[in-house]
């Protein structure tokens, strides 16, 4: 089956599977590619483009789905779309949360389904959807819980964070976009209108780029409270403006220490980031 690569939590893998294709959500880390370090280009968007280029170079036939959730990803779509418009799709995800915006989001999901079925040659079959991935929360056995929030993050970064935190008897709760999934979209085939149910489940997900984005902060605060979090780390990709301004409101709403760590798109934390992390852990303890 043809692979469909995407990065955004708002691209439903269930829809991709229902259309007879295999969904793969990526959170790529950049390699030491000089192009990816171009001034002003978000390191995550650059890593994503680089990952697609590597797959292209390997000869794999695949589809890629971009999201409009941020300026950088929306604009980075222009580059591969110019060369391969039939295998590249931009899902326009509304930033606003009105009923009207929801209707538009459903239109866009319909359009995505047409695109996917046009490649698979099949009609949507809701019995094909994969099991919904539940958020992977850390165990509560550690003395301190630290929440990590931010954009989709490579697992190697989270592993490095967990390893560093473990030295302080702390565990890391992943509240990044990696773990933003609908509470339940199982058994869609039993639903009277599976498409509508799927669309609503994804539309209602919290995101920092929503306007207004109060629900994102409320959701973060609720998770932090439920898991007795003692501090929050905000992971920011370089040149990501949306997460650049998150700290003051997180601090205000959660009343917890907040550390901002900048990721440069590499596959691990820099020594500078590790030093800051250690200092933060000492503060939280």
């Amino acid at each position: 089956m043809t692979n469909v690569y995407y990065t955004s939590a708002f691209v439903p893998p269930e829809l991709i599977a229902a259309c007879g294709l295999t969904p793969h959500r990526l959170a790529p880390a950049a390699n030491a590619d000089a192009d990816s370090r171009r001034e002003g280009v978000c390191s995550f968007a650059a890593a994503w483009l680089a990952a697609l280029e590597r797959k292209q170079a390997s000869g794999e036939f695949f589809l890629s789905v971009f999201s409009s959730a941020c300026d950088q990803m929306r604009r980075s779509f222009d580059l591969p779309a110019a060369h391969d418009p039939d295998r590249t799709f931009l899902l326009n995800i509304p930033a606003t949360t009105t009923e009207h915006a929801f209707a538009y989001y459903k239109q866009e999901l319909n359009r995505l389904a047409e695109f996917l079925c046009g490649v698979s040659g099949q009609s949507p079959d809701w019995t094909r959807i994969p099991r919904c991935t539940e958020p992977q929360y850390a165990s509560d056995s550690a003395r301190i819980q630290i929440a990590v929030t931010g954009e989709s993050t490579p697992h190697s970064i989270l592993t490095a964070l967990r390893s560093a935190a473990a030295r302080f008897d702390a565990s890391v709760l992943d509240l990044t976009e990696n773990t933003v999934v609908p509470e339940t979209v199982t058994d869609l085939s039993l639903s009277a209108d599976p498409f509508d149910r799927l669309a609503l489940a994804y539309f209602e997900l919290p995101a920092i780029w929503k306007r207004p984005n109060e629900y994102f902060y409320q959701n973060l605060a609720r998770n932090a409270h439920d898991h007795r979090v003692s501090g929050v780390i905000v992971l920011r990709h370089s040149f990501c403006d949306l997460w650049r301004t998150a700290k003051p409101e997180i601090t205000r709403q959660l009343a917890l220490p907040v550390l901002e760590l900048d990721l440069d798109g590499g596959s691990t934390l820099s020594q500078w980031a590790l030093s800051r992390l250690e200092a933060f852990m000492e503060t939280v303890q």
């Binding site: 929306r74 779309a81 606003t96 009105t98 359009r111």
Partner: protein, 460 residues
């Protein structure tokens, strides 16, 4: 006696102003010597070179008195609407209501330039969590908080969706700081697929009918918000009239741009052209005065063209400028380096094109809003730049990077490549900081190199 067109300094304007007054200069209620603005904090004026005409004087006085006039409008009982990000559409909607006055708080991005950062807006913005990795429009948020520049609007209406991340983040921060913002969605424009009904937009663009319908409904929501703020339903004829007024201004500006960019020698400088073009967004909060100013500039330009007089050398390199410069002085630098402005794309070409008057007003404005160059693919913008560069016989292109602006990272890749491939013109990208004094030598060097390149190409 100075009667020939010239570019003069602020101090030279002292004598020039006296001369104009002696010759019977009649000024509007916001008129007066330019030096008073510098005395009140706009010290960047000391470093600029201005056109010496009465028309240019009126232009600068209109621009630099806007905050005062907004305060006056409020004291007269008008409700102030802060339109944000859409650059040209919401003011046309609001223009249907006599009790509403609309302006773009976005314009505060130039305040740190004009006041040479002595006003402290960037420092305050950083304290608010908006650091210098964001574009200079972060000054807007600080201006809301300290209320020392424009009056805080009664309501802000901001577009969301296919908008710059930094502006979106800054506007959302305003909400967190207690300033209400009403949001409306502008989707990322795309070309219609084979099975979709296409709709032609201004600027020779095309979008699916479904997207136009969505934006039309969104503008309907904005209209409801305006009606609630005004306390009265919109008069359909008033909305038609607002569109007609917008088109009247756009026609005048079109004639000004065409006249200036095609005439030789250059009859009006790049700095005045930049400011004049900005008037299209919301008429500097006074439609009648904006028309007066633009008509005055047009009359001056026509006279100079007729007399074959101008400001710059006849062989000045013809340069198309992309993106507004964060430091106004950059426009002077272009000319001091041997270039002249022949075409612009300042991120709001949709505010220059006529709005259809034979359609339902909301349909017409939806098509205009969707034609925003920043809402669609960069290649659409590049194509327009190519068309206009040909129309104005540009010989080179400058892309002004705005520090922190998220779209700039991709501009060079898409626009430069496309322009280079289509027109085979030299393209350079220069970062223009809010105050370019420290970067002046390198900016000049790059502009001079472009000019030399252009002039060498003339002989090959």
């Amino acid at each position: 006696m100075m009667s020939q067109p010239a570019q003069i300094t602020l101090s030279q304007w002292h004598d020039r102003y006296a001369q104009l007054r002696q010759n019977g200069l009649s000024e509007r209620f916001y008129g007066g010597p330019l030096s008073r603005h510098a005395n009140h904090g706009d010290t960047r004026l000391h470093h600029l070179r201005f056109d010496n005409s009465a028309a240019a004087l009126a232009l600068w006085n209109l621009l630099l008195t806007e905050n005062d006039r907004l305060h006056q409008l409020r004291s007269q009982g008008k409700k102030l609407i802060g339109a944000m990000k859409d650059l040209g559409t919401v003011p046309v909607l609001a223009g249907a209501f006599t009790d509403l006055a609309t302006f773009y708080p976005d314009g505060a991005w130039w305040t740190p330039c004009l006041m040479e950062q002595n006003e402290g807006l960037f420092e305050l913005a950083s304290q608010l969590g908006l650091d210098d990795t964001l574009c200079p429009v972060r000054a807007m948020a600080a201006a809301f908080v300290n209320a020392e520049h424009f009056p805080v609007p009664d309501l802000s209406i901001c577009s969301a969706g296919a908008v710059c991340d930094d502006f979106s983040a800054i506007a959302q921060r305003l909400v967190q700081l207690g300033f209400p913002v009403r949001w409306w969605e502008i989707p990322r424009r795309r070309r219609p697929s084979a099975n979709e009904t296409p709709v032609t937009l201004p600027g020779d663009l095309v979008a699916p009918a479904s997207q136009v319908a969505f934006v039309r409904a969104e503008l309907g929501r904005v209209m409801t918000i305006l009606e609630q703020t005004a306390g009265a339903p919109v008069d359909p004829q008033a909305l038609h009239d607002s569109i007609s007024r917008a088109n009247r201004f756009r026609r005048l500006l079109h004639e000004l741009r065409t006249s200036v960019y095609t005439a030789d020698p250059c009859p009006l400088g790049a700095l005045e052209m930049l400011v004049a073009e900005m008037l299209a967004l919301h008429y500097c909060s006074d439609y009648d005065e904006a028309v007066f100013v633009i008509e005055g500039l047009l009359a001056e330009v026509r006279t100079r063209i007729q007399n074959r007089t101008g400001l710059l050398a006849p062989d000045a390199a013809r340069v198309f400028w992309v993106n507004p410069a964060a430091d106004l002085q950059a426009m002077n630098l272009l000319e001091q380096s041997g270039g002249r402005l022949c075409g612009t794309e300042f991120l709001f070409s949709h505010a220059l094109d006529p709005i259809a008057e034979d359609l339902d007003p909301l349909e017409a404005l939806a098509r205009t809003a969707l034609a925003d160059p920043m809402v669609g693919p960069a290649f659409d913008r590049a194509q327009r730049i190519c068309r206009d560069a040909v129309r104005f016989a540009a010989e080179g292109v400058v892309i002004a990077r705005i520090g922190g602006a998220s779209h700039c990272a991709f501009d060079m890749q898409c626009i430069a490549v496309h322009v280079g491939a289509t027109l085979a013109l030299p393209v350079i990208e220069i970062e223009i900081p809010t105050l370019c004094d420290s970067a002046d030598p390198s900016i000049r060097t790059r502009l001079e190199a472009l000019v030399e390149n252009i002039k060498q190409r003339r002989h090959t």
